[in-house]
């Protein structure tokens, strides 16, 4: 167990080797594939025993970052530390890490036992020690009855466990997991998610986990690193990411359904600061006005989560501004109802009480809980609100 640090790490994929480049240049001048900068100046500090989730859309560089920690990809520049040791020039086998691959990468010709024992055998562990560790891990993952099976005789979930087992028996300093649950069906994924959480609590080993699924990130991570286009957008606890997204991208990525965005303008009126959207005007509550004066007059984007928009017949406590909107679609989910509504040019989703009787086509008053509002500069998409702030005292 130990911490992992990335300092100014970059990864540039050379489109082609120099020789190949010359070859291309010779045959198709001007068509030389250019290099791709997939990870840009990544700085990370993963604490000892922490479960850190790298999340982002595909192609954001999260897997590459993980593979650089593993040593499967070489960092183009920057330093990677595991514990006190700089590991840039250390081969994967000597980094004291274990990795779980998206497709599990189980050795097809070996049975479950051999798959788990392989790494230990290569490291010249004593046979009885290997046996003990493999059986312990198998017990922990409830696959003890499968030890003699070949991978092709296992279900997806079982293979996933074997892949985990192969990592566990090694007792490394760091676990690296590359979308380990993405090949499972939805139900199994939820179940394995819970087991992973339990496992991490039992083992307490530093874990770096890559996923594109924000729900996985939110539920598993002690902290989340959200990446986009090779750049770290925000690194914080799940709750902080949810409540204080640093920019519009983070705000839209985290949370389901996605945050509603309303383009508008920030205006000052009678000492109040208001957001003027196409269909309504909202006042920014006093506790969120800090530092907003300088942005008055600029284009902004208002962000409201569906669960912070209430029906006027089922109001929540606290200050809220009413917005009238036309209901376009009603989606009853049993425990709640999603209203797809339109106000002015903007369409948005509100999550309302399951007992709501709103019908399609109706115009309703929806209450926007302005304490939970988010404001982003239209030009930079960065958050305009001071975050993180101490939670305002509830009324």
């Amino acid at each position: 167990m130990s911490e992992v640090r990335l300092v100014n790490v970059n990864k540039v994929f050379q489109g082609k080797t120099p020789l190949k480049k010359a070859w291309f240049e010779f045959w198709r001048p001007g068509h030389t594939p250019s290099e791709v900068h997939v990870v840009k100046n990544a700085n990370l500090q993963i604490k000892d025993g922490e479960f850190l989730v790298l999340v982002g859309p595909s192609g954001c560089g999260k897997s590459t970052t993980l593979r650089m920690i593993a040593g499967l990809e070489e960092a183009s520049s920057g330093d990677i530390f595991i514990g006190e040791r700089r590991v840039n020039d250390v081969s994967p086998k000597d980094r004291d890490i274990a990795m779980v691959f998206q497709n599990y990468a189980l050795y097809p010709h070996m049975n479950v036992y051999e798959n788990m024992a392989f790494g230990l055998r290569l490291r010249k562990f004593a046979p009885d020690e290997i046996d003990k560790r493999v059986k312990n891990a198998a017990e922990l993952l409830s696959i003890a009855h499968l030890l003699q099976r070949k991978p092709k005789e296992l279900s997806g979930g079982q293979r996933q466990r074997v892949a985990m087992g192969r990592a566990i028996v090694r007792r490394p300093q760091v676990y690296l997991m590359d979308e380990p649950l993405s090949n499972l069906d939805a139900k199994l994924r939820v179940q394995m998610r819970a087991e992973l959480q339990k496992l991490h609590r039992t083992l307490g080993v530093t874990t770096v986990y890559v996923t594109h699924d924000q729900v996985e990130a939110m539920t598993l991570g002690d902290r989340i690193v959200l990446m986009k286009d090779g750049v770290i957008q925000q690194m914080d606890t799940p709750l902080a990411l949810y409540e204080h997204p640093a920019n519009k991208y983070v705000a839209g990525f985290i949370g389901s359904p996605g945050m509603n965005f309303f383009p508008g303008k920030l205006a000052q009126n009678d000492g109040r600061i208001e957001v003027v959207a196409s269909g309504f005007t909202l006042e920014v509550p006093a506790e969120r006005r800090d530092g907003l004066e300088s942005a008055v007059g600029t284009e902004v984007v208002l962000g409201m989560r569906a669960q912070d928009i209430h029906e006027s017949t089922f109001p929540s406590d606290g200050p809220a501004s009413a917005v009238s909107a036309t209901v376009e679609v009603v989606e009853p989910l049993g425990s709640e109802i999603y209203l797809y509504a339109a106000s002015g040019q903007d369409q948005f989703v509100a999550r309302v009480d399951a007992h709501s009787v709103v019908r399609v086509g109706e115009t309703v008053q929806l209450l926007f809980d302005t304490r939970k509002m988010h404001l982003f500069a239209a030009s930079t998409e960065q958050s305009l609100l001071r975050a993180p702030q101490p939670e305002p005292a509830r009324a």
């Binding site: 080797t17 990795m99 998206q102 290569l122």
Partner: protein, 295 residues
């Protein structure tokens, strides 16, 4: 009702290939089998075609020329397939790495395989020629010997010459088969092994080799059957002289040179038996059944 219609359509579509298999493969085999029990010597047609039972076979089994040819054939098959597999694996491993001009190399490597054997055999005959051959020329210039050496006219070198020519021609086939096998192996297995702590050699030994075995077995089976029937190369290079006669050459000799169709057929049947035995052994002992080791 519909099942029957479908079956009829299936038969209809299968018919052309069935006819071809029957007339081109099965009939000749049966005919050879039949002829092998008769005396049918076109050199002495007045004898007619009397039934002689197993005489043709008994004669062959007592003939030292047969045993020599059988030994040659097995020896040639073993040595050349072994060399081809080894070299083919080496080439495949090299071609499986990314390097500049790999596509070109892959295409170029197939050239020996694409050239008809008779043509390449003729080429090798010139290379080995004792007076004007390139090989002798090189050896003389490099001072290996002072006298040109008749490569195809002494037992050891003639055999080696045939093996070399065959290995040159068929290694590409092996390399290509094995390359296809290598490319079926998931690269993440190597990454997992990397993390697990396997060295390059251990990865080859514990991952590449076991996972390549099914493909390799099939490739070796193909090549073994092919090598066992070798005819054209031997025929062009030595015509079977200097201890290079193989079963195919002997069979052709007896049949078409001596016009002894009865005994020639017996030879053909013996070869057929050998090939069936080889295939059976492979499939049984080595598990060459391509469906057995699906991944």
């Amino acid at each position: 009702m519909q099942g029957r219609t479908e079956a009829r359509i299936a038969w209809f579509f299968l018919l052309p290939s069935l006819v071809i298999i029957l007339t081109m493969a099965l009939l000749p085999i049966l005919r050879s089998f039949y002829l092998s029990f008769f005396l049918k010597d076109l050199a002495v047609p007045q004898l007619g075609q009397p039934f002689v039972g197993l005489d043709n076979y008994l004669y062959i089994l007592r003939d030292s020329r047969f045993w020599a040819a059988l030994g040659n054939t097995f020896g040639f098959t073993f040595v050349s397939v072994l060399l081809e597999t080894g070299l083919g694996l080496l080439l495949a491993l090299m071609l499986n790495r990314a390097f500049t001009g790999r596509g070109l190399a892959r295409a170029a490597i197939l050239i020996p395989w694409a050239v008809p054997t008779v043509v390449s055999a003729q080429m090798w005959r010139w290379i080995y020629n004792d007076k004007v051959g390139v090989l002798n020329d090189l050896c003389l210039r490099l001072g290996v010997f002072t006298q040109p050496f008749p490569w195809l006219a002494s037992i050891d070198t003639a055999r080696a010459a045939i093996v070399v020519a065959d290995v040159w021609k068929t290694t590409p086939f092996m390399a290509l088969m094995l390359l296809a096998g290598l490319q079926m192996i998931d690269t993440s297995l190597y990454e997992a092994a990397d993390v697990d702590g396997a060295t390059a050699w251990q990865q080859f030994r514990h991952i590449t080799l076991p996972l390549l075995t099914p493909v390799m077995t099939v490739a070796v089976l193909f090549r073994t059957l092919d090598a066992f029937r070798i005819f054209d190369l031997v025929y062009v290079l030595t015509s079977g002289a200097f201890g290079t006669e193989t079963l195919s050459v002997l069979t052709a000799d007896v049949t078409f040179k001596f016009n002894d169709y009865g005994q020639g057929s017996a030879y053909a049947v013996i070869m057929f038996g050998c090939i069936v035995a080889i295939s059976y052994t492979f499939i049984k002992l080595l598990g060459a059944d391509p469906n057995a080791e699906e991944r």
